[in-house]
């Protein structure tokens, strides 16, 4: 067999090989350097947000494990579960033979999994999302790690363009003060969105202003909600749950409720820090500033 064609084939193979085949190192939210020797093909993605970001990058088919509260997108449902309400199983993660684990430090996931994965030599990357900017940078980071950096840049550019349009639309408009209720506790206290969270950032980007702007703790009494006297009351959850809440004695006296400015908003858009958060911001902007054109 003549040599020259073989060389040519090899050279061609090297040229065609994507640049990402070389090891990639990223810096994660826990100040760790995470290196993958080649683009991961078997990813355990813990939490809905991380699954949604990977799916938006077209990588849903590389996901081999999720946790029990992941409900979207449909193509990942039915994949093996590696954890749920009672925590995360090292055994079950390892059984999927992953070459990348993606976690967020909620519900003990990072603490339960970083140590064993590091000991076993499985790359594990920790993502934080304290504001919308971090959601975008997480998408970029995952794209780079998985060897689809360009796709990531395109996706982020599209999302950024939509954010820019919202920003232009609400620019110069007076921001209404907003209280967003994200949960109710058994003792009557309410969970509200605080500053310094991506949900709080989403409200601000949509042209709103948080009525609770200090460092309040997440649970507040209904009385504090009354006293903050917001222009708008948002309830993250189904319409009927919100009705049930504001039909309680006293709520009908609230200015926002009287003015029919109490709205139920989507939990999956505003409480899962992924690409759908941008949808949530567009929807919020339409609620905050209904007079402006919606496109």
């Amino acid at each position: 067999m003549p040599r020259a064609p073989l060389w040519a084939i090899l050279a061609l193979a090297v040229a065609l090989q994507p640049a990402a085949a070389a090891p990639v190192t990223v810096h994660d939210a826990f100040d760790r350097n995470v290196t993958v020797p080649a683009p991961p093909q078997r990813i355990v993605a813990i939490f809905a947000s991380n699954v949604e970001m990977l799916a938006a990058l077209g990588l849903a088919d590389r996901i081999v494990g999720i946790e029990a509260f992941t409900r979207y997108p449909p193509e990942v449902l039915g994949k093996p579960l590696v954890g749920g309400r009672l925590g995360f199983s090292v055994d079950e993660v390892v059984a999927q033979k992953p070459d990348l684990v993606v976690v967020t430090p909620s519900r003990q996931a990072a603490n339960q999994l970083i140590d064993p994965m590091e000991r076993l030599g499985i790359p594990i990357v920790v993502l934080l999302q304290r504001n919308v900017e971090e959601i975008l940078s997480n998408i970029r980071l995952l794209a780079r790690l998985c060897g689809v950096a360009e796709r990531g840049e395109e996706l982020v550019a599209r999302l950024q363009a939509r954010l820019d349009r919202v920003e232009q639309r609400v620019a110069g408009l007076k921001p209404p003060s907003v209280v967003m209720i994200t949960g109710r506790l058994g003792n009557g206290l309410l969970l509200v969105t605080r500053p310094g969270t991506y949900t709080g950032d989403a409200i601000v980007r949509a042209g709103g202003r948080l009525a609770f702007d200090g460092g309040v703790i997440a649970q507040v009494s209904p009385e504090a909600v009354f006293n903050s006297d917001p222009d708008l009351l948002l309830f993250a959850g189904p319409e009927k749950d919100m009705k049930e809440l504001i039909d309680r004695p006293g709520w009908s006296d609230m200015r926002a409720v009287k003015a029919r400015r109490a709205h139920a908003v989507s939990r999956v858009e505003l409480l899962i820090p992924g690409p759908r958060t941008i949808d949530g911001i567009e929807h919020l902007a339409a609620i905050f500033h209904p007079a402006t054109p919606s496109q």
């Binding site: 954890g83 925590g87 090292v90 055994d91 390892v94």
Partner: protein, 327 residues
């Protein structure tokens, strides 16, 4: 003494069973291959680096609880005494809550056992200090001070949990720690735990003779020349070190410290010199098996260890108790 070979064999058997148990069951042959290093696949590394250290840590935590329980039951001469009696559970839980919820500079795998130990030990020191200051240095005074300190620490912990939790840092992580769960140590840390456990056994064995004297009643003990108040304080200090070490690596594991000494007493009798090591072995067996159940019963989740020890150990203990009382 035919109880000893049985206990040792039962422990060895439990350890092997527990090392095999998991969402993904291994065979003893897999274990041997993994330990020998013959297979370098991910599953073998999981066994060697993760499951086996965890099983051994569970055994040691159980042994410490057995020792601690025996010391406390001996000191207070009360079959209901348990290792968490003098505020150590409340202190440990407070320390752990801080470690779990407050963002600190050190990694949690380090800060959690350290703060849990400090909390458990500190709370008991506080109890002893209070009973000394108030002049009630006897067992009853200490118990009352313990109840008060436990109430205060519990309230502080609840406040911290409410103040520091939000959507991302949930109360669940504190709750699941309070319900017990063995940390998986690295091999060097496991070595440290083994050394601590051996030291605890040696320390408590030095108390054995005087615990027997105290068991005769305070008057008799004094007649035999024992300074009862001094010894009670000393024994409580020693016991609280043992318990704090157990809590640091295993969280709050219910019931084992209460039940192990009783089971051991049925096997080897009431004298503390055989009772202490026997109780340690019983505790080790119980926690090893309970931890295996916790890991394997409901995949992919892990049940908190303290729930397993109470739910599975409780009826077993009642059964033994009933049979014992009938004969």
């Amino acid at each position: 003494m035919r109880a000893w070979p049985i206990l040792v064999l039962a422990l060895a058997f439990s350890i092997v069973i527990a090392a095999c148990a998991g969402h993904d069951w291994a065979t003893p042959a897999d274990l041997l291959r993994a330990i020998a290093g013959a297979a370098a696949d991910l599953r073998s590394r999981l066994l060697v680096e993760w499951r086996i250290p965890r099983v051994l840590a569970a055994a040691l935590v159980g042994a410490l609880l057995g020792l601690g329980g025996t010391v406390f039951q001996g000191v207070f001469r009360n079959p209901l005494a348990e290792p968490y009696l003098l505020g150590s559970a409340g202190g440990a839980a407070l320390g752990a809550t801080v470690a779990l919820l407050v963002p600190l500079a050190a990694p949690q795998s380090f800060i959690l056992p350290v703060l849990a130990f400090a909390g458990a030990w500190g709370a008991t020191m506080l109890v002893i200090g209070i009973s000394r200051v108030s002049g009630a240095v006897d067992a009853a005074g200490m118990l009352l001070a313990g109840v008060a300190v436990a109430a205060i620490l519990g309230a502080l912990r609840s406040f911290l949990m409410l103040a520091l939790s939000d959507e991302t840092v949930s109360l669940q992580i504190v709750l699941s720690w309070v319900l017990g769960g063995v940390q998986t140590p690295s091999w060097p840390v496991l070595g440290l735990l083994a050394v601590i456990s051996a030291a605890c056994l040696a320390l408590t064995m030095r108390l054995a003779g005087r615990l027997d004297l105290l068991g005769l009643g305070e008057t008799m003990a004094i007649a035999f020349g024992l300074n009862v108040n001094r010894f009670v304080a000393l024994a409580v200090l020693a016991g609280s070190v043992v318990v704090a070490a157990a809590v640091a690596f295993g969280g709050l594991v219910a019931f084992v410290g209460l039940a192990s000494p009783h089971i051991a007493r049925w096997l080897v009798g009431p004298l503390h010199r055989p009772l202490l090591p026997a109780s340690a072995l019983v505790g080790a067996i119980v926690v090893t098996l309970a931890d295996a159940i916790a890991r394997a019963a409901l995949p992919p989740a892990e049940i908190p260890l303290g729930l397993v020890t109470a739910v599975a150990g409780g009826p077993f203990f009642i059964l033994l108790l009933a049979r014992r009382l009938r004969t």
